[in-house]
Symmetry: none
Subunit: 190 residues, 4 copies
Amino acid sequence: MENLAEKKKAILESTLQLIKENGFHGTPMSLVAKTANVAAGTIYHYFDSKDTLIMELFSYCQYRMQAAVEQHLRQDMDFQESFFLRWISRCQFYIQNPEVAFFIEQFVNSPFYPRCSQAQSERPQNEIMQFIEAGNRHGILREMDPKLMAIMIHSSIMTAAKAHLDGKVQLRNEEFKQLAQMVWDSIRKL
Amino acid sequence: MENLAEKKKAILESTLQLIKENGFHGTPMSLVAKTANVAAGTIYHYFDSKDTLIMELFSYCQYRMQAAVEQHLRQDMDFQESFFLRWISRCQFYIQNPEVAFFIEQFVNSPFYPRCSQAQSERPQNEIMQFIEAGNRHGILREMDPKLMAIMIHSSIMTAAKAHLDGKVQLRNEEFKQLAQMVWDSIRKL
Amino acid sequence: MENLAEKKKAILESTLQLIKENGFHGTPMSLVAKTANVAAGTIYHYFDSKDTLIMELFSYCQYRMQAAVEQHLRQDMDFQESFFLRWISRCQFYIQNPEVAFFIEQFVNSPFYPRCSQAQSERPQNEIMQFIEAGNRHGILREMDPKLMAIMIHSSIMTAAKAHLDGKVQLRNEEFKQLAQMVWDSIRKL
Amino acid sequence: MENLAEKKKAILESTLQLIKENGFHGTPMSLVAKTANVAAGTIYHYFDSKDTLIMELFSYCQYRMQAAVEQHLRQDMDFQESFFLRWISRCQFYIQNPEVAFFIEQFVNSPFYPRCSQAQSERPQNEIMQFIEAGNRHGILREMDPKLMAIMIHSSIMTAAKAHLDGKVQLRNEEFKQLAQMVWDSIRKL
DNA sequence: AATGAATGAGGTTTCATTCAT
DNA sequence: CATGAATGAAACCTCATTCAT
């Protein structure tokens, strides 16, 4: 995933940017080609179809997200600290990569999403779920279907990031902590 | 809003259904016309363009949601009871009207959404915000920008409903209560 | 022709005005209806089709032109004076009724024109031709097919009027006389 | 202008022919495509829109006319001879290229024309005007706004050609000379 | 006589995709 | 590998016309 042909990467990045700005509708292949400085036909060397391109873009975004989050993880933390760090670093990733956030949200709310393999579509939640199950083994968290809990947590991250990106609120250190605390209090045993 | 010409309503409902199933892309005007049993041109009697149709559909969904929620409200409840009732009844509305849920989520994550007036786009959150401000006057809720809190609450409702509709979890009375409790614990002063 | 039903006249006049501003293309029946303050269906009480409306409009314009020109004719003039008067008064009619001028020119250069009866299409030239034949009987005019001469004269009138209406030149008394003289010198025996 | 891509030229020529036969109305892009033996979409490779196509067609006609007229010019002629030659060769060009004549006349009487740049729209008259100004320097022509005189001359050429093409008169050598003489007598000092 | 909602054929244009170079 | 002219199905939309009221 790190050694993408230069042109392939240019195509992915251009598409990501254009979809952020114009949505799926407003992103014809001809425009992707122009923005990526390649010929229209070249795109079809790397992707079978527009659908394929978009599906791969979703993988590409998940990969970028994963890579970013891993950088922040450390071992010497207790469970709560670890939760705060994860929540905040994910949220900051979306804020620093708005085109990823907008693309993912459009994608998961489109007819593309149900066509992903489960393994693929649930990967981000799964990582959170493993974390939850670790918490459960220590009896820290409240009783709840871990899958549902993971979904709620993931949504809280994305929602906060989008609110910031849409300019509806401004998130600073203070607010990140408030939000992480808020979500923490919603999942822990009181 | 209650006396929509019969054909106009048929067009709105058909579009809603089709977008749920096929997304914006997969919903050409010709298909809307066929599904609504009107001629293609008739749509343009009621809506200036496809864009207009979709924008009006958003208003229409907000209206339907509002009307549904109001049915459940009662006066003789304390603040927490009222919160639970509201959270659960909204969530159930989305579950009982999946086409509304799917449409709204597609819409707010599309380039259409930023083109709505603020007044229009923030109406659902505003209603929640007023509720929050009432809570604040009683000193019940934790310190936090009410706008942000409203956004987080609204998102939790939609997220839970979608998880259910996508078949990822199954929400029953038990789970509704758990979820409402979870969100309640995240906003109240501990 | 003088007792046109009020609505019929409103339709004709609206069409004339709209075609001047927007051309045939830019003049849909719905717009004619709105401008004339009648319902779309009403137009079809008075005219079989849009084509019929346009054909009748041509007659209507010829009638208006004829009526205007006749007002100016007097008996006690020699041939040349009469020519000048006719040339100038026709030219002024077009300038004072630009919508007629623009419509006629569009009409005669459209596929409608060849579908007119000869009698109809040549009426304006015929009147000029009778005048020419009178001149010929007095041996005043140069040898030339009277039909061709009539066409050339008629065209000179319209051309001058359009140049004025398009703002390319400004015609005042002086210029009218120059022009009439110019055309007169082109048809008389030198 | 001489090395137009083969397909582009086919599109222009087909459009020209079709507009002659059916007018602007009766010339849908689909028919242009079929007649030019290209796909509908191909037209939009070369022209932004139907409007653009028609505007470019006007330039193309002016270019063809210009090229044709230049072939006939010679140096060793006095002013009057030169005038006759120019008048007649232009008139014959229109007669030999009726689709150009019909297109130009439709175009200049349509809402397209006012949208041309002045430079563009007055080019044919300008060339005549320069000729007139040369005549004025020799004191040969009568006193008159050269612009107006140019317009009248240009119109006489087109009018004669159209009368012939419409079958209203038949122009042969004899008549060309008569007409050129007639116009010459209308502009020269008597 | 008059209305205007409704029709649907057909117009212009877009765009994912192909293929000869 | 890469190009981009060419394709043509299908999208959005218009508008002359009809007909129940």
